[in-house]
């Protein structure tokens, strides 16, 4: 399959927050509560379209347990985007965000786009972290923020695609030297390296506006 760009994403966050479910919902459009926990890393990929350009997202889904942090750190290299996920029903997963962010800042390239996701928003009755707190954290750390549900698919498309849109805009703005693959971007066929026409980085696919 040909693409204009390939973006490497990494999904991080505590174990059990729903990283693998988010990935599966995005790539396969299904929620599978019965699946194996992630050991090491798993991969997913999907094509999306931004600005009429086919873009391939290659997504790295990581294991979240503390012991595996040192391994996970080696996966950040060359990621263009990261989805940092917490579980709105488990306060501690929110409390750990700072340490995840620290890892990301230390081991990923500085221009990596980070999307903060408060997952399991279908479980509103068990909510332990308010939407405002999530927004506040995102604002403080310069992240994009969304609440989502891997179960109902709410905001899942948007989360992945908005991240891609932001990355795409950075390319258009010349923030990245796309010939340098350490930014997590590969130029495929039809990709126009460097800033060029079409400054419009808005998404053209699925979901339209986010909530």
């Amino acid at each position: 399959m040909s693409y204009a760009y390939l973006f490497k994403y990494i999904i991080i966050g505590d174990t059990g927050v729903g990283k693998s479910c988010l990935l599966l919902q995005f790539t396969d459009k299904r929620f599978q509560p019965v699946h194996d926990l992630t050991i090491g890393v798993e991969f997913g990929a999907r094509m999306i379209t931004i600005d009429n350009k086919p873009i391939k997202l290659q997504i790295w889904d990581t294991a979240g347990q503390e012991s595996f942090r040192s391994i996970t750190r080696s996966y950040y290299r060359g990621a263009a985007g990261a989805l940092l996920v917490y579980d709105i029903t488990r306060r501690e997963t929110f409390n750990h965000l700072a340490s995840w962010l620290e890892d990301a800042r230390q081991h990923a390239n500085a221009n990596m786009t980070i999307m903060l996701i408060g997952n399991k928003c279908d479980l509103a009755h068990r909510r332990a972290v308010s939407t405002e707190e999530g927004e506040q954290f995102a604002k403080e750390h310069g992240l994009i923020f969304m609440e989502a549900s891997a179960k109902t698919a709410q905001n899942v498309e948007e989360a992945f695609i908005n991240t891609a849109g932001t990355i795409y805009k950075k390319i258009q703005d010349g923030v990245f030297d796309v010939s340098n693959e350490s930014y997590g971007i590969k130029v495929g066929y039809g990709g126009i390296p460097g800033p060029s026409g079409g400054r419009d980085g808005s998404t053209s696919q699925a979901g339209g506006c986010c909530s």
Binding site: K8, T15, G16, V34, H35, D36, L37, I39, G40, V41, E42, F43, Q58, A63, Q65, E66, S67, F68, S70, I71, S74, Y75, R77, G78
Partner: protein, 651 residues
């Protein structure tokens, strides 16, 4: 295994050695008389090497070791190879006599081909009168001296096409001669062996029933030459006998090797081509232009082992699993395992019948001791059961109020709660809501985290427990078997990942030893952390094979035969199968990680176990030495020795 000269394949190494050799220490001058027929007078041993070995079958385990000598008598040189007496070996006694080389005059030898694989042993194939002797493996090195000494005494010429082919008695056009000698073994393969009934009288002219006129004329030439300059030519030799008795394997090996050699002889591009050796490449046939075959790929350095695989199949064929009837033969009347080593070996080669696993795994894992009786085990199981209940009760008695103030407990329980519902739920045994086996798995893991509070719970443990519970079906027994397994694999889950890092480190050392081009590739591409093998090692390939195959593999690994670290050799075996693709496509760390991940479900278990065994055999002591003591799944080094070391440092 590696001598210094193994790395020095520069073309003139042996020549250089020959000129330096003189009467150095390598030249043995004890003039012991030969006991073989035709005892040469005034003979002088000019070369003597122990542990020179023949493999009568393709299995590396079967071998006949002996002493190789070069004996000079007058102006003639003879080669002898006498197997050791009464040495334990899998080979039959008759085989020993069969392969004995009593006194082979160099005037009869046409060529010697040297093989210097970077792994395994160097060997030579001696071709005499058109027929090849089985490969002689130099277990203690010494091929260089061997050739050097020969060079001092007879005229040998290195083939212009093949730096490893040495032509003996070659007074004619070397190229013509090379091609002739190379053709011979090829035709040999199709020829019925010469009558093995009656050894002939030793006259070469009568020896060959071949219709091949060309072959004959060469031999006659040889013979005449021999007559004119070899005063000792009347020595009785049993070359013919040897020719007719070489086993099919030895013949095929040699002819295969020479067919390979024939390709070698065809052009100067050959060296380059051999660097391309890869499965892809081979399956696409031997076209002359590599660039056309694999367009996008870059040249891949050949696999040192692959290159040599024509010579021996090291790993043994897999057998059927151990069944009930055979199992009973391993037990005495009271239920003791009489010969645990034999049992482990048997299981290594075939695994265990599924219905027998419950019983046998308990031994393999170390829960049962081999010398226990039926009665002792029955008692033991009941004692262990109550012991289990006691530990389990420790967390079961924690009240909700207490749990509120016990964060560590809540965290652990929370992790385990989440993970047991994400472990093998597609299996009937664990599927469905409120599955009682999932509950049992939860209880065992939580109990373990109290039994071994320091280690606690870590992801991956449920993967290790799942098949054990599935087999044992009993909570307490599954728990204790799991405990036994974690005696060895526990360090995989150390918080600082030290157990994993030490295994990954050992793996990199082993790859360096067994496939240095691949090692260099990883080094250049920043892949030396071997993180791409992380999952393989952490949970013993559980995610790479289907459930049944995983259980087969585990029982094989648990035998610790032929090494406690066979799983590392497994990693190498798999990597080797894909080395051409990995290097050819210039995979970087990310690509490699993804590639390896996607091998899941694509790996054929039995061939990989065989390869792993082969690699382990080949690596031998050097392999073992590459793995630091205490590397899991070896049992941890005794604490006392650590204290001892600390004491020493202080002092």
């Amino acid at each position: 295994m590696h001598e210094t000269d193994i790395h020095d394949l520069s073309d003139d190494a042996d020549y250089a050695a020959a000129s330096q050799q003189g009467s150095s220490s390598m030249t043995r001058t004890d003039s012991s008389k030969q006991s073989s027929s035709g005892d040469p007078e005034d003979s002088e041993i000019v070369y003597l090497k122990d542990n020179v070995t023949i493999h009568p079958t393709q299995y590396a385990a079967e071998r006949i070791s002996g002493r190789l000598k070069l004996i000079k008598q007058g102006s003639s040189l003879f080669m002898t190879w006498i197997p050791y007496k009464g040495q334990s070996s899998n080979a039959r006694l008759s085989d020993k006599n069969l392969y004995t080389i009593r006194a082979l005059p160099f005037s009869d030898i046409q060529s010697i081909r040297r093989h210097t694989p970077t792994i395994g042993w160097q060997y030579v194939i001696v071709v005499s009168s058109g027929l090849a002797f089985p490969p002689l493996y130099f277990y203690s090195g010494g091929v260089r001296e061997f050739l050097a000494i020969i060079k001092q005494h007879v005229l040998i010429v290195r083939s212009s096409e093949d730096a490893n082919l040495f032509l003996v008695n070659n007074f004619q056009d070397p190229l013509q001669r090379t091609l002739s000698s190379l053709e011979l073994p090829g035709s040999l393969a199709n020829r019925t062996p010469l009558s093995s009934g009656t050894p002939s009288d030793g006259s070469l002219e009568n020896k060959h029933t071949s219709e091949d006129g060309h072959l004959r004329s060469i031999q006659r030439n040889n013979k005449q030459r021999q007559k004119s300059h070899d005063p000792a030519r009347d020595i009785s030799i049993q070359v013919l006998e040897k020719f007719s008795l070489v086993t099919r394997f030895a013949r095929e090996t040699t002819s295969q090797l020479f067919r390979e050699g024939l390709v070698d002889g065809h052009g100067p591009n050959e060296k380059k081509r051999s660097n391309w050796a890869s499965k892809d490449h081979q399956s696409q046939g031997m076209a002359s232009n590599d660039m056309e075959i694999v367009p996008k790929k870059v040249p891949v350095p050949s696999d040192p082992l692959e290159f040599d695989k024509l010579s021996l199949v090291w790993g043994q064929p897999r057998q059927h699993p151990l069944g009930f009837q055979e199992w009973s033969t391993f037990l005495d009347t009271e239920g003791r395992v009489v010969d645990p080593t034999a049992l482990k070996k048997r299981i290594f080669y075939g695994g265990v019948d599924h219905n027998l696993r419950k019983e046998v795994w308990a031994f393999l894992l170390g829960y049962y001791s081999y010398d226990s009786t039926y009665a002792e085990r029955e008692y033991f199981v009941s004692v262990k059961k109550s012991e289990y209940e006691t530990i389990k009760n420790q967390w079961q008695s924690i009240s909700p109020e207490q749990a509120k103030r016990f964060t560590k407990f809540r965290e652990r329980k929370g992790l385990i709660d989440k993970d047991v519902v994400r472990t093998d739920r597609s299996l009937t045994f664990y599927e469905g809501d409120d599955n009682p086996n999932v509950r049992v798995m939860h209880d065992i893991l939580l109990t373990y985290s109290f039994y071994n509070f320091d280690l606690g719970y870590c992801q991956g443990m449920s993967d290790l427990l799942s098949p054990i519970l599935f087999i044992m079906k009993d909570e307490s027994e599954a728990f204790w078997c799991f405990v036994s397994l974690l005696e060895r694999l526990g360090p995989n889950f150390n918080r600082d990942q030290s157990g994993m890092h030490s295994q990954l480190f050992a793996l990199s050392k082993l790859v360096e030893l067994l496939d240095s081009p691949l090692h260099n590739y990883f080094k250049q591409n920043d892949c030396l952390n071997y993180f791409f093998c992380f999952r393989w090692i952490l949970i013993q390939f559980k995610r790479e094979f289907e459930y049944e195959k995983t259980m087969r593999l585990w029982e094989v690994l648990w035998t610790h035969y032929p090494s406690e670290h066979l799983h590392l050799y497994m990693c190498i075996a798999i990597l080797k199968r894909h080395r051409a693709k990995i290097m050819g496509e210039q995979m970087d760390f990310d690509t490699l990680l993804k590639f390896i991940n996607e091998l899941s479900g694509q790996i054929d278990l039995d061939p990989i176990i065989r390869d792993a065994e082969a690699l382990c055999v080949c690596a031998g002591e050097n392999g073992a030495a590459s793995i630091p003591p205490g590397t899991p799944p070896s049992l941890p080094i005794e604490d006392s020795s650590i204290y001892y070391q600390q004491d020493e440092e202080v002092l």
